[in-house]
């Protein structure tokens, strides 16, 4: 057992409630981290994974305290150590990489200086050696031209580059253990894949042990040797990554994996009913009892202990794990989308839409001169049929939300037309739209915390559109609100609650209900599941699908998550830098031949499967502005032809299957090359 470098023993951390009850957030967690291994800690929000990671470096958040147990590092308990002694360990032996590097780097200090600071604190190098070390570190984290990079400020770097700098800083003290708290969560798919690649390389290269905390099983699958699954503050499953991901023996992990949409499967993933119990609300039985499909009576009364299965090298907290496999074989199916009859009628038509954020000068306004020749969003042509779900996909800065806002009338378009039903041009100014047009298009936002007024009850929230569009009052209004709540699977008793009393999934259901209250023809969904946990995400996606089947609503679905888009959409439009790259039926977009950008995106998707590795084909750079001429993707394209791509706007190539690709490379050539890979 010499190669254990960190061990957590029977650790419980909690806080005291107002009524002076002891409420634990972590409950009797015991685990060991071996030298050179990468351990992934996965769980949904509130499962205690971050608290555990912080405790591993001897830090307990304010308001929390250690109830029992210890964190042993080099045979001393970090939780009982004095701050002065902890300083010798933190950064030097245990380093941390935070979630949002943009916020953890000091904005007014140059990158080089910040790394130098870490070196000065944790090493005994002199100035010259340190300078050499800085470029060595920047090189190691694969930042371009390390010499000039050291003289840049954090805001001059992209999100991925900032994260790399954070990694470089953490490596400065040559730590034995690296703690990573959701290090890639805020990044774009392609950047995320690159950063994970780097982390994997570093783990191998330096032999550093890593603890990787994430809610994203896809990311965990790529880096971890061993996985710990947390639920309600307990470890429910722990074992080798492969066996946990391929054949999970705990019902929660099984459900979690089932609820993740996958690229290879069309159709909606299974959702898990219910939500994780809140700390202080956990009964005496198994904490997963309420949501478990194989639960028995004994699970309600007794809490299972972590049982070690020797032949699998896995620990599981379940009485019934042996039955899980039998049970699964019976229900192993995926809900297929019902093929509802889609109308042939066009409901919305975007013709040559351009949107510019540049402000026109007064003189140009008077002369009616167009100054911005390179607008943020350009030449968008999309026809949307009644009853279909069309998804706009792309990384941040691709203009997908911008397009959505202009459809909603929140942003004026510079050029082109938005036509609604029977070729009627929709004004891009909200105030010029009539009430019926306003009613017909409704929005659902990414973050339900922000989209629901915190001082309104659910009833007040849902009444707003009903009063506005249908002038309902009194009992009629109340009846309608109750009806809406039932439709989104929430009971009538939710009416008197405030948003803060609801869980994330429940809030998003209320937001969905509010959109449907207007009886809209089109619902614009802006990253509606990004802020939710995976099991809740699946439930919301299923809800949206059922509502659509009932009402025949058209969805315009914006997301950066290709797997989610695959699950819900009929058609997909891929955007890069505000320009359309590819548009077509979703099954064709997800198959080759594709536009090179689609290929890059698909390659970078992380699947919760250790055998499917991301393919990194494009350069990891971030372009701030679309190119003036030529193809929008020329800067990063792995298949660039040369001057043709730089000077000429590529033509649309429309295949037999209705899949349109905007590329200079012929579809046949794309097909040949992409399938070879």
């Amino acid at each position: 057992m010499e190669n254990i470098i960190h061990s957590v023993k029977n650790l419980s951390i909690g806080f005291r409630s107002k009524k002076n009850d002891e409420i634990s957030i972590l409950r009797n967690v015991t685990t060991n981290i071996k030298k050179g291994e990468t351990v992934g800690i996965v769980g949904e929000s509130g499962s205690g994974k971050s608290t555990l990671a912080l405790a591993m470096m001897g830090y307990v958040k304010q308001g929390l305290y250690t109830i029992e147990g210890e964190c042993l590092f080099e045979s001393s308990n970090l939780l009982k150590m004095k701050n002065k002694d902890l300083e010798q360990i933190r950064g030097r032996k245990i380093a941390m990489i935070p979630q949002n590097a943009g916020q953890s780097l000091t904005p007014n200090l140059k990158i080089g200086y910040q790394i130098d600071e870490a070196l000065r604190l944790h090493t005994k190098f002199n100035k010259n050696e340190r300078d050499k070390k800085i470029s060595e570190l920047l090189n190691k984290v694969r930042l371009p031209s390390p010499e000039t990079m050291a003289f840049r400020y954090p805001h001059e770097l992209s999100g991925g580059q900032q994260q790399r700098v954070a990694v470089a800083m953490a490596l400065a003290g040559k730590p034995d253990l690296l703690l990573l708290d959701e290090p890639t969560t805020g990044l774009d798919v392609t950047t995320q894949a690159h950063v994970l690649e780097l982390l994997k390389f570093i783990a191998k290269d330096t032999g550093t042990s890593m603890v990787y905390v994430s809610h994203d099983l896809g990311a965990i699958a790529q880096v971890s040797d061993r996985i710990i699954v947390m639920y309600a503050g307990e470890i429910v499953l722990e074992g080798p990554a492969r066996s946990i991901l391929k054949s999970p023996i705990h019902p929660y992990t099984y459900g979690l994996l089932k609820s993740i949409p996958k690229l290879s499967l069309s159709g909606l993933p299974d959702s898990m009913p219910g939500s994780q119990p809140q700390p202080g609300n956990i009964g005496i039985g198994c904490s997963f009892y309420d949501r478990c499909k194989i639960a028995e009576d004994k699970c309600k009364k007794n809490s299972p202990s972590l049982e070690h299965i020797l032949e699998l090298q896995t620990s599981v907290r379940c009485f019934n794990y042996k039955n899980l496999k039998k049970f699964n074989d019976k229900i192993n199916s995926i809900t297929q989308k019902k093929n509802i009859s889609k109308g042939v009628n066009e409901i919305l038509n975007l013709t040559d839409v351009s949107i510019s954020y540049a402000k026109q000068k007064i003189l140009d306004q008077i002369l009616n001169k167009i100054t911005d020749t390179n607008p943020t969003v350009k030449d968008i042509n999309i026809e949307i049929k009644k009853g279909e779900t069309i998804a706009l996909v792309g990384e941040s800065g691709s203009g997908k939300s911008t397009i959505l806002k202009s459809i909603a009338g929140l942003l004026k378009i510079k050029d082109g037309k938005i036509k609604f039903e029977n070729d009627r041009v929709l004004s891009s100014d909200l105030k010029k739209r009539d009430s019926n047009d306003l009613r017909a298009i409704q929005l659902i936002f990414q973050n339900p915390d922000e989209s629901l007024n915190p001082n309104h009850t659910v009833e007040q929230i849902l009444s707003q559109p009903l009063k506005l569009y249908f002038s309902l009052t009194g009992n009629e209004l109340k009846k309608k609100v109750a009806e809406l709540l039932n439709k989104v699977r929430l009971g009538e008793f939710y009416m008197t609650r405030y948003p803060r009393q609801l869980s994330g999934g429940e809030k998003q259901r209320v937001a969905v209900a509010r959109a449907f209250a207007a009886k809209p023809d089109i619902i614009l969904c802006d990253e509606v599941t990004s802020a939710l946990d995976v099991s809740v995400q699946a439930a919301v996606l299923n809800l949206l699908q059922t509502l659509k089947e009932d009402f025949g609503t058209t969805y315009i679905f914006v997301s950066h998550d290709l797997a989610v888009v695959r699950a819900i959409s009929d058609r997909v439009a891929v955007l890069y830098q505000g320009r359309l790259c590819e548009i077509g039926p979703s099954k064709n977009v997800y198959q080759f031949p594709s536009h090179p950008y689609t290929e890059v995106l698909l390659g970078a998707v992380l699947e919760p499967d250790p055998d499917i590795k991301p393919k990194l084909v494009a350069k990891d750079i971030v372009e701030e502005k679309p190119p003036e001429k030529g193809c929008c993707f020329q800067g990063r394209c792995p298949r660039i032809l040369g001057d043709k791509c730089k000077n000429e706007t590529p033509p649309w190539q429309i295949g037999d299957d209705g899949n349109a690709i905007r590329c200079h490379i012929s579809v046949e050539d794309l097909k040949k090359n992409q399938i070879k890979k």
């Binding site: 929140l410 009430s435 929005l443 989209s451 001082n455 506005l468 609650r497």
Partner: protein, 297 residues
């Protein structure tokens, strides 16, 4: 959060909400003291006509500058009027004028601030520069000008004080609105096509109300000090109406040998200001706004 327990919670009406806030305020020692002082002053203001042992304007040269005695608890002033009577009656004027002044300040300052925060752009720029310009004028000079032109009646003092103390509230209300305005629920209301009025009333006011009320409570104590300063300078209420500022001003020359005629109004004024300040702080804490981190603009 314990969801099952909350489901029992009924939607509270305004009264029970107010009671709950008061309860939270009183649970802290500073809040309890502040509330008690304020309640004492308000009670006194209501009851003073019945409690006063003498007529506040009864002049009796034979009783000039009597020291405190069992007959005249706080002594008498230079005109032989009972200081106790005048002290308890003096709070009445100050409280009434500044209370209604604060309400006017809250209303116009709050609404203008919310409006500016919501519309933004050029209108916001122009209005805020005008407010800034007014903020740069020494208020006491401007007040003196207004009072000397229009007289010192209550009908002039209340709106004039309300105007001058509302300027600061405009900025606080605007800042609070800016915090809210970027949230998606406002965007959502806009996209639905609600009118500006409906957005202000339904979406913004419930979210900025607390911040504005707390600011208003603080302005109240400042206004009280300002009003007393005016009276001290002789531009507040006109004699023989009893008023603390006026009493201090009249008696300050006699301080060396008739301290009692100054002490009583000073204690009255400062205890009321401390009471309001403590109450406002407790109010802010009870509403979850920490004034120590958010300095008033």
């Amino acid at each position: 959060m314990e969801i099952s327990k909350i489901s029992e919670e009924k939607q509270k009406n305004l009264l029970s909400k107010v009671l709950e806030v008061l309860k939270t305020m009183a649970s802290r020692p500073s809040g309890f003291i502040g509330l008690s002082i304020l309640a004492f002053h308000i009670l006194l203001a209501f009851l003073s006509p019945y409690l006063a042992p003498y007529d506040y304007k009864a002049i009796d040269p034979s009783l000039m500058l009597q020291a405190p005695s069992s007959e005249y608890w706080f002594g008498t002033d230079s005109l032989g009027r009972d200081v106790f009577t005048r002290t308890i009656m003096g709070g009445r004027t100050a409280l009434t004028i500044t209370f209604f002044g604060s309400i006017i300040a809250l209303l116009w300052g709050g609404l203008l601030g919310i409006f500016c925060g919501l519309v933004g752009g050029k209108i916001d720029d122009v209005v805020m520069r005008i407010v800034d310009a007014f903020l740069s004028i020494p208020w006491i000079l401007a007040m003196l000008l207004i009072v000397s032109l229009l007289g010192t009646s209550t009908e002039v003092l209340i709106p004039a004080l309300g105007f001058f103390y509302g300027k600061g509230i405009v900025r606080v209300a605007r800042a609070a609105t800016h915090d809210v305005i970027a949230k998606d629920f406002i965007v959502s209301a806009r996209a639905r096509g609600h009118s500006n009025f409906s957005i202000i009333w339904n979406e913004i006011i419930p979210n900025v109300r607390d911040a504005i009320l707390v600011e208003g409570a603080m302005r109240w104590s400042w206004m009280l000090l300002g009003f007393s300063s005016l009276s001290f300078l002789g531009f507040g209420v006109s004699p023989p109406t009893p008023d603390w500022g006026l009493m201090i001003s009249n008696a300050r020359g006699l301080m060396s040998f008739a301290y009692w005629s100054v002490i009583a109004p000073i204690v009255g004024l400062s205890s009321l200001i401390i009471g309001i300040n403590l109450t406002a702080d407790a109010f802010a804490k009870a509403l979850g706004i920490d004034r120590s981190t958010k300095a008033p603009v």
